[in-house]
């Protein structure tokens, strides 16, 4: 009996190549060689949005999507959103902005609550943390969105930061945020919702930018270097696509057989 499962070996090799590339660039960064990372306007705008909300005397909303953390496809988006929440919470604690965190999945609520509480403790203002502002709304998709819309309208959000996995509620949230005059930063890897976020919010993090955001906001050289490892995967993908197009045009199934190895 073969240990490696047939049909998944090539995928494993690709995965290992990308993982090794990420590890390589992280180690390289420890030696002082940090690759240049392009600016992500949406992430840079987070501080501006929080500052604006403080000046207006309005709260900052920060949500991390409606998925849990255990789903293989959408879980990483929630983790990325929580990474952004960490940064937002620290900034809000620093400048004294009220932060409201709408939560949909019950298992994510303790995580979000801990992140916000720690941010206030780190800022030396534990007494300013209000556990009621990390709001569990509803496990139902539209129960969550109607609650969120109501909160946006009642509390008159000054900033609305939404990074994570969103579905049909994306347009409702973005449009309502716009209606109350909130500066909005959105981000999702759910490609079917990207168009809504792009047209309805001020800044939109597209696809992989949300995964890079948590590394980008920390400014940690090792984390930033891991982004360069992704580029190795991208180059690998482009090579395979070009090679595949050429080989198929020539009538060869070599690459298809290799992918199915």
């Amino acid at each position: 009996m073969a240990i490696l499962i047939e049909g998944r070996i090539f995928g494993l090799l690709c995965l290992l190549a990308i993982m090794l590339a990420v590890v390589y660039y992280v180690q390289r960064a420890k030696g002082g060689k940090v690759p240049k990372v392009r600016r992500v306007a949406g992430v840079d705008a987070i501080d501006e949005a929080i500052g604006r909300a403080v000046e207006m005397g309005r709260p900052v909303f920060c949500s991390h999507g409606i998925s849990g953390m255990r789903d293989a496809t959408y879980g990483p988006q929630t983790i990325a959103g929580l990474g952004v929440l960490d940064h937002v919470a620290k900034k809000c604690a620093e400048v004294g902005a009220r932060l409201i965190v709408p939560v949909r999945v019950p298992s994510v609520w303790p995580v979000a609550s801990e992140i916000v509480e720690t941010a206030y403790k780190v800022a030396g203002k534990p007494e300013e943390f209000n556990v009621d502002d990390v709001k569990y709304l509803s496990n139902d998709q539209f129960g969550y969105s109607s609650n969120y819309l109501g909160l946006l309208m009642r509390e008159k959000a000054g900033a609305n930061i939404m990074v994570g996995a969103y579905w049909a509620e994306s347009m409702q949230l973005a449009e309502t945020g716009n209606r109350v005059g909130a500066m909005q930063i959105s981000g999702t890897a759910n490609q079917h919702q990207l168009a809504f976020f792009v047209v309805a919010t001020d800044y939109c993090l597209i696809g992989e930018e949300i995964f890079a955001a948590s590394a980008y906001v920390t400014g940690d050289p090792a984390l930033l270097s891991s982004l360069a490892g992704q580029d190795v995967g991208r180059i690998l993908g482009v090579i395979l696509m070009v090679l595949g197009a050429i080989l198929i045009t020539m009538g060869s199934n070599v690459l298809i057989n290799l992918l199915g190895w």
Binding site: Y136, Q191, F196
Partner: protein, 218 residues
Amino acid sequence: MSETLRRIEIPIIITIVCTLLQVVPYFVNVPPIEAASDTFRSWMVLVATCSTLIGAITLTMGHSKTIQRQGKGWYFSVLTIVFMLVMILTGLPIPEVGLGEKNLVYDFCFKNILTPLGATMYSIIAFFLTAAAYRSFRARSLEATIVLIAGCLMICYNAPLMTVAWPGFTPIGDWIFSVPNMATMRAVIIGSALGAIALAVRALLGMERGYLRGGGEE
């Protein structure tokens, strides 16, 4: 003891072990690892189910405070708590005493309140969409003009009246949908997958700590 339990290394180790137990059996055929992975998956379901209780408690506590201080819209909080209790109690899986999914009250609330409310929320997206389109579809720049033109062509492609008036909208719409749209979507999907892998590697190395109570800076 409590200080030891709050050490950041503990969730990092749990993350690493759980991730490896999910990833490794996908590629390798080792029955003990597969069995361990299945056990972990069962635990995951149990943890997720138990966390529903956290949701119910948090919801009750939050809304109780609103009712207590008679805050803005406090009567909505009363409705929320009442209906939550009604749905929990009538939906309890004890069919012997008439409770569960077939309970009349549960069935009525589900079919006549929850479902229509959900459908209403879903259908109002059309109005939000129109408002957003009206605001955004303006030829302010080259990119915005391209979006405007493509959007108008897709509207015509999807409107039977327009395709009957000029059948040329059909091949144009098909082309927009299957060439530039598809290429962009694939680029986003590939980029997102790579981003998720890099995030997973950072989590496996214990570097990605944003989701762990502020990176354990406490």
